[in-house]
Symmetry: C2
Subunit: 231 residues, 2 copies
């Protein structure tokens, strides 16, 4: 198991970050399963710090793109923020920072492959941000995020990350409220290779259909197809 001391060295070497309170760092990189296996050590797990880090990232990203794109309308700002703060983006940043190596997991979670799970990597990225914020304040967060996240804007990272369900919603609701529903209309295939068909409707009228290996993927396809037909 890699120690928190080694994490501190990694942060110092790679990012020039030196924590004042290393217990915050330990909390941010510890999952509940590890705490449960070490009941005598009086450890804390990352969830509370992640709750804070999530809000710190929301504001840091919002303020940056608000200032950087002074002419961008709110709808586009919202879509860009969603693309930047989504699980898929944060888990990639966590991997790029090699945070996966330093997560403290219980044995069962380790065996189940939690260390490579996108949702956990995303959580750890947020909890690290929360710890950095508590230890060193907003300017340190902005400096770190500028390097790890904002630099990706110039590399076009978020342009393809279009959220079709949000885009469809904004399109349909541009003149007022419209009720949008996604309903599974068909499931086929054996359990392990199930394919879902989803219909999306606006005020009870079907406007698109999509298929996918999960309901979520089928919904995204349905939204994309509806947008293509409508626009």
């Amino acid at each position: 198991m890699i120690t928190i001391k080694e994490l501190e060295e990694h942060l110092a070497k790679t990012f020039g970050i030196h924590f004042n309170d290393s217990s915050l760092l330990a909390e941010a990189f510890t999952q509940a399963s590890y705490v449960n296996e070490h009941p005598k050590e009086n450890l804390k797990y990352y969830e509370r710090i992640e709750f804070l880090g999530d809000a710190v990232m929301q504001l840091t990203v919002s303020e940056y793109i608000y200032q950087r794109y002074p002419e961008m309308p709110q709808g586009k700002l919202s879509r860009l923020r969603i693309a930047m703060v989504q699980e898929d983006s944060f888990s990639k940043f966590a991997l790029e920072c090699q945070f996966d190596k330093f997560i403290r997991l219980g044995k069962g979670e380790e065996k189940a492959g939690a260390r490579h799970r996108s949702s956990l990597l995303c959580d750890i990225f947020e909890s690290f941000i929360g710890a950095l914020y508590l230890d060193q304040g907003r300017d340190a967060v902005i400096k770190f995020v500028t390097r790890v996240v904002f630099a990706k804007l110039d590399q076009g990272w978020f342009e393809q990350e279009v959220d079709y369900k949000t885009r469809l919603q904004e399109y349909l609701q541009r003149h007022g409220d419209v009720e949008i529903d996604y309903d599974v209309t068909k499931e086929s295939g054996a359990e392990s290779e199930r394919v879902y068909t989803v219909a999306v409707s606006a005020d009870n009228k079907v406007i698109g259909e999509g298929t996918g290996t999960s309901k979520k993927r089928a919904e995204i396809q349905a939204a994309k197809n509806a947008l293509t037909r409508l626009q």
Copy 2:
């Protein structure tokens, strides 16, 4: 029409807030419909500032409850944050601050009653926060929010505001991922007094049912009933 000058006087008298840049305040209280009716005045409407204000409120509320309740687990912090930042809460704060009087609306929107619409009041509360943040920074926001929002915590404002859908999700997913779906199973009554019946299912097994005058209300009832049965 009440002017921005009068809004500045109201803020000074009621909250001791003096804006440096009153154009930010004008932007925060102006709806797109008003801008469209005054094309020569080169006005801006509130949506971009509201985008920023939303994130400012998320962090301000998150940081406050994180510090104030050091033992509160993340799930409960999340529910409390949702209750504090939801439309219903923000629109009440906007009314309490008398912000409704100062919104600049187009004639059509005025006639349609937009000034009393909860969603607009919520937006204006957020855009005011965004403007205050840009004009005077985070400390001024914290001071204002402490008086208008945090004081309500001691008055028990948010205790009843339980988000049943979130609670059901947290309950079902406490040991891992569970697919939760809400489906309309019945609609009855004429269009103006339609009643919806919604079934909520976990991994395709129905666990609760609810009715309501909108799909959303029926979903909340279904989640509440499912929770009662499960717990």
